[in-house]
Amino acid sequence: MALATFIIGLLNPDTTKALIATSNNEVGQNIYIVLIINLIIWAGIFFFLMSLDQKVKKLNERIQSLFNK
């Protein structure tokens, strides 16, 4: 519910105006670069955490089975 309210809020006409205003100048163009870099960094952190999560889970299972033999 909170997520839906948030996304609907982002899609209102005022925010669209802000988006257009930002993209129409030089700062606006540079901000897209910074935005993409941020998204790539977050994607990297996210997938690293996911893989670490899986590794820890598997390690836990292996250790449990090893010591329970």
């Binding site: 809020g9 802000a18 700062v27 941020n38 977050w42 994607a43 996911m50």
Partner: protein
């Protein structure tokens, strides 16, 4: 997949926050494009405070019940708190260079977070100096409580007593939120995302520390 749904949700949620922070929010008067640091710097500071609070809570639980798994949780929370305190300091310093033309000015905010970093760095120095797990847990728990007693003063009181150039915090003396509604929406969304990220990092760190303790105990037997 089913048990990891909230992690995937966080992945998307944080990406939405990043896009919104850069494209959908207006800038604050006088701060220009540097306003956008707000959506990452302040939630990092929030996670720092939350993590140190949780560390103090588990320290109390350890002192009451003497079970080592509470000590593990106190340590994990303090580790994440320290990492986010460093992130807060670095992001704030980069922002200060742009606005105040210097990376470090010994502003009350900067001084207080520096003191906080030293206090919690000493917590880990203390932990690493004691080998016996029970003694380490007991002393670390007492120190953690003493360290957390300073947090309200360093984070909330001192920067408000002395004149600071730091922008008006959300919790301010006139008890009003001076923020555009779109900014506030993204800001609160970011708080939520950072809190869930903290929870994920915390559970992961607790699992690793618990495994380490379990293996060491079994090897000693």
């Amino acid at each position: 997949m089913r048990e990891n749904w909230w992690k995937y949700l966080l992945g998307v949620w944080m990406a939405v926050i990043i896009v919104a922070a850069f494209l959908f929010t207006p800038t604050a008067k006088g701060l220009g494009q540097t306003t956008r640091v707000l959506y990452f710097h302040v939630p990092s500071a929030w996670v720092t405070t939350l993590a140190f609070f949780i560390s103090a809570v588990f320290s109390v639980l350890y002192l009451m019940r003497h079970q080592l798994h509470y000590d593990i949780r106190a340590e994990a929370a303090a580790q994440i708190g320290l990492i986010f305190a460093i992130l807060t300091t670095v992001t704030g310093s980069i922002w200060a260079k742009e606005i105040w033309h210097s990376y470090w000015n010994w502003d009350p905010r900067e001084t207080s977070i520096f003191m906080l970093l030293l206090i919690y760095a000493a917590y880990f120095a203390l932990r690493s100096a004691i080998e016996d797990p029970e003694q380490r847990a007991r002393l670390a728990a007492v120190y953690s409580l003493l360290a957390f007693a300073t947090v309200p003063f360093l984070v909330f009181v001192i920067p408000r007593i002395y004149d600071s150039l730091h922008p008006d915090p959300l919790i301010n003396p006139d008890r009003k939120i001076h923020m555009d509604v779109r900014m506030l929406r993204v800001f609160l969304g970011s708080f939520g995302a950072f809190t869930v990220l903290f929870y994920w990092l915390f559970t992961l760190r607790v699992k690793v520390l618990s495994l380490e303790q379990h293996v060491l105990r079994k090897l000693e037997e």
